[in-house]
């Protein structure tokens, strides 16, 4: 990979990888540092085994790994809630369904953020990074059984949140 190619690669994927990392780290400045570090390492090692199209995921994975290292060493506590965008344009009048949908999103993402730290990390790695339980276990230095338990716990809490919403809307 030449520098020109790398520059284009960087321009294309940088912001997206930052946004992904920020889901875990919840500090945009730190996220940027971690992501930049990943890109630099990628440039330095220039892995040749990659298939076409695998490079962005590889860099993203490196950045996520950085994020997990950072979280482990910093032992950060829960910070302010992330601003999850609902992805709908606010200009036109939302239908009742859209309101419901946005509410659901809001409630679920709130529930997600309120999961205990370890449980949340495990769930997010599974949900957003599509890591297998084995990979998550390796990453976080825990057993696969623990990972599965955390997933089970997260799903239970999120399902309850869904249930609460449904009940609320039925009156």
């Amino acid at each position: 990979m030449e520098k020109k190619e790398f520059s284009a690669f960087f321009q294309r994927h940088y912001a997206y990888v930052c946004a992904s990392v920020n889901l875990l780290v919840r500090d945009p400045a730190v996220s940027e540092d971690l992501v930049q570090e990943a890109f630099v390492k990628f440039w330095e090692t220039k892995p040749v085994l990659l298939r076409d199209g695998a490079a962005p995921r590889y860099v993203k994975r490196m950045a996520i790994n950085n994020a997990l290292m950072y979280l482990r060493s910093k032992k950060t506590k829960e910070k302010q809630l992330i601003d999850f965008s609902a992805g709908q344009s606010a200009s036109r009048n939302p239908t009742e369904e859209e309101i419901f949908h946005r509410e659901s999103q809001q409630r679920l993402t709130t529930a997600l953020q309120q999961l205990p730290q370890g449980c949340r990390e495990v769930f997010m790695l599974s949900r957003y990074e599509q890591m297998t339980y084995h990979e998550i276990a390796e990453q976080l230095n825990i057993s696969t059984k623990t990972v599965e338990n955390q997933i089970h716990k997260a799903l239970k809490i999120l399902r309850e949140s869904l249930l609460a919403m449904a009940l609320f809307y039925i009156f």
């Binding site: 930052c18 946004a19 590889y58 290292m69 601003d83």
Partner: protein
């Protein structure tokens, strides 16, 4: 399957990285109980409602690139001090990264692959060479499609209908697979003839070894291994039959050679008419008396008839429908 296993598959499905067998497994599980279906639906809701639009707008890529470029350009005045936490992390990241690659290669979403397609019309024979050097001689009414390069996959896959003779470049690390809708022929490096039409599915092996299988929904249901000199044919019920008697003359369309060793005239006529696509009738008393030995190579049908009739003291003539061989 327990709940966590189901969740893993649901995530894969959501991200479109699920494989066929996994999707089948998931579907089977969902169909088993209403409770399963409900669980899957709740997981689906969770996935849908946690879809986030990445907030990329808050990151200034240009500014970031300036920082990064400084670090990767070798003539730095000041050495960048890597924070302590990353020094030991670097080795770990690389190891995990490399281990992860093989896994992603299995899981990554299918990317658009460029395919080349070649078809032959009636009476058209065509030879093509595939990206790995494999040679394919296509008979009439045949169609093949293959990717512009075979590097992307762990198998070399081509889709094919009709009849063709393959001479496959040897590559034990990447088996070559010829696929029609229901039948797959898998080889390492070999030469074989395959016939995959609506009514017929057969493979004949000239050299090497192939595995011929009948597939349903992409999964092999039955298969047979064939070696040089053998042929496998699928009957109407998709049952695979392996036969040892291989009439090499069925490859005459490709080799241009018809070889006969003490064959009855009936047999000779059959091979001739098949090869030349003409109707050859016979009016011969006691045809079993006439045995022909000889090689017909790259000649016209009339020259072939002349050769055969001359050696057997028979007569041939052209008719409105084709030809006629007689002994009077």
């Amino acid at each position: 399957m327990n709940e966590e296993q189901v969740w893993e598959l649901m995530v894969k499905m959501h991200h479109h990285t699920i494989s066929m067998p996994e999707a089948e497994k998931l579907n089977d599980w969902i169909q088993q109980h209403a409770a399963n279906r409900q669980l899957a639906e709740s997981m689906s809701k969770i996935l849908r409602n946690t879809d986030v639009v990445p907030e990329t707008q808050k990151y200034n890529t240009e500014k970031a690139w300036i920082q990064v470029e400084k670090r990767i350009t070798p003539d730095l005045k000041t050495k960048y001090l890597t924070p302590q936490v990353f020094r030991w992390a670097a080795a770990a990241i690389l190891t995990i990264g490399f281990i992860g690659i093989a896994h992603w290669q299995m899981n990554s979403a299918p990317r658009a692959i460029e395919l080349t397609s070649v078809s032959t019309q009636a009476r058209e024979l065509r030879k093509i060479v595939l990206p790995d050097g494999t040679q394919v001689w296509m008979n009439a009414h045949s169609s093949i499609s293959y990717p512009t390069d075979f590097d992307a996959d762990s198998l070399r896959v081509v889709r094919f209908t009709g009849e063709a003779f393959f001479e496959v470049t040897h590559n034990p690390k990447k088996p070559f697979v010829v696929k029609s809708e229901d039948y797959h022929t898998r080889v390492l490096g070999t030469s074989f003839n395959v016939r995959l039409t609506e009514n017929e599915a057969s493979v004949m092996v000239l050299s090497g070894k192939v595995r011929f299988s009948y597939n349903e929904d992409g999964m092999p249901k039955s298969s047979v291994d064939i070696e040089k000199g053998y042929q496998a044919v699928a009957n109407k019920n998709h049952q695979l039959v392996k036969s040892g008697l291989v009439n090499m003359n069925t490859l005459a369309w490709r080799t241009g050679i018809l070889e006969f060793k003490n064959e009855t005239i009936a047999h000779v006529i059959k091979d001739l008419s098949q090869h030349y696509h003409v109707s050859i009738q016979s009016q011969i008393d006691e045809p079993q008396e006439y045995l022909f030995t000889g090689t017909i190579e790259q000649v016209s049908v009339e020259t072939a008839l002349e050769t055969i009739c001359y050696s057997l003291h028979l007569r041939w003539k052209k008719t409105p429908h084709g030809y006629l061989i007689s002994n009077r």
